[in-house]
């Protein structure tokens, strides 16, 4: 059959590659950061001109610039490049981690600089993007303590999760860049 045109066959318009790629980047970035919104809206507030929404937008932009790899349709987020906080305070260095079924302990050190104050507060965040569940330390931990512990929510007892560590000043006005401690899970430590 030498068919030239069939009015009844539906016409399919494919979206341009660039549009699909950008949409996927946006979707991936949003899916990764959204469960951490409560932390990010504070830790990026300095970049949001006082607006929590703008702060989250800046974090999203940074993730899309730095932490996305691959070509459409195989783009993915690189968790170690994601910054869940940013600022000029000196960060921390994770020395050792101890993982048990329901808790995670991290031993850390800090460089001595005039900006690093002993009463800076440390925040430890554990996060599973697959489950969309995160947790942070609920007690106050100071920079000079060198040790922090976080209780893991039940959803993270049996799945791998990412660990981030950062500090903020006692007034919560200044933050450090977050340090990626690693991906931990029930089968591995450190």
């Amino acid at each position: 059959m030498d068919l030239l045109y069939d009015r009844n066959s539906p016409t399919k318009t494919e979206k341009p590659y660039g549009k699909l790629a950008v949409q996927q980047r946006m979707r991936l970035a949003m899916a990764f950061l959204n469960p951490l919104r409560s932390v990010i809206s504070e830790s990026w507030l300095g970049h949001g001109k006082g607006s929590k929404k703008k702060a989250f937008g800046q974090a999203l932009k940074k993730l899309m610039q730095d932490a996305l790899e691959g070509d459409y349709p195989d783009q993915h987020v690189i968790p170690e490049r994601v910054g869940i906080s940013t600022g000029i305070l000196p960060g921390l260095l994770a020395e050792d981690v101890v993982l048990s079924e329901q808790t995670l302990e991290v031993y850390f050190s800090s460089r001595e600089t005039p900006l690093a104050r002993a009463n800076d507060e440390v925040v430890l965040v554990v996060y599973s993007p697959q489950r969309g569940i995160a947790a942070r330390n609920t007690h106050v931990c100071k920079r000079n303590e060198g040790y922090i512990k976080v209780n893991l929510p039940p959803q993270l007892w049996a799945v791998p999760f990412h660990v981030y560590l950062f500090v903020h000043s006692a007034s919560k006005k200044q933050y450090s860049k977050s340090a990626y401690v690693g991906q931990l899970g029930p089968w591995q430590e450190g």
Partner: protein
């Protein structure tokens, strides 16, 4: 479906020839006149399957519209709770076994949002009550102690839904649903989701398999 944004002659209401104009929730619609009875074409096999799916899911969701209006509140500006739940569930709501289509109860979602689920959810049936328990800690993110817990139980044998009208909070960690008087208590399906105090944010829905004992 096309979108009429102040259309070529603007949105209109009422009948104009074979066309009917109306608006609902600030969305303008143009519809064709209803077909006369008996003039409906018989659906093709593919259409019949789609119609069966639509019927199954809509019939399941309609009795719990009150529940859906709570869990899907952010979507209610331009849809009803049932509409929103329908589009949320349609892609994963069915189990297809040859020509037989049934609902995939485990995949059902009655809420959507960024609030965290509780974790370690358990449910069991004893003495005519279904008891549901969950983890009460919030770990500093994604939830508050005063979030309201909504528990829903469905019995497919008699097509009945059960739930509690009174507020149960995340902090309570337990809810007992009375099923006394219901003779068929096998094959029950249980779900739970949380909504914050201001009813602005909701958690995803968690399906809890019913265990025989605590």
């Amino acid at each position: 479906m096309g979108i009429i944004k102040k259309g070529i002659n603007g949105p209109f209401k009422g009948k104009a020839g074979s066309v009917v104009g109306s608006s609902w929730k600030k969305i303008d619609y143009i519809k064709g006149l209803q077909r006369k009875k008996g003039t409906k074409r018989t659906p093709s096999p593919q259409q019949a399957v789609q119609q069966q799916r639509f019927k199954l899911l809509t019939q399941f969701l309609q009795p719990i519209s009150k529940f859906l209006n709570i869990g899907l509140k952010p979507f209610l500006a331009k849809a009803t709770g049932v509409n929103a739940a329908f589009s949320l569930n349609y892609d994963h709501a069915f189990l297809v076994d040859g020509e037989h289509i049934s609902l995939n109860y485990e995949a059902m979602q009655f809420s959507h949002g960024s609030l965290y689920t509780a974790g370690a959810e358990k449910a069991w049936l004893a003495n005519g009550h279904v008891t549901v328990t969950w983890h009460t800690e919030t770990y500093g993110m994604g939830g508050e102690m005063d979030d309201t817990a909504h528990v829903l139980i469905y019995n497919p044998e008699n097509d009945r839904f059960y739930g509690r009208e009174q507020d149960i909070t995340r902090q309570d960690g337990i809810a007992a649903i009375d099923l006394i008087g219901d003779k068929c208590t096998t094959g029950l399906h249980t779900w739970i989701f949380f909504v914050d105090k201001l009813q602005k944010r909701a958690s995803p829905t968690v399906y809890i398999p019913l265990s025989s004992e605590s």
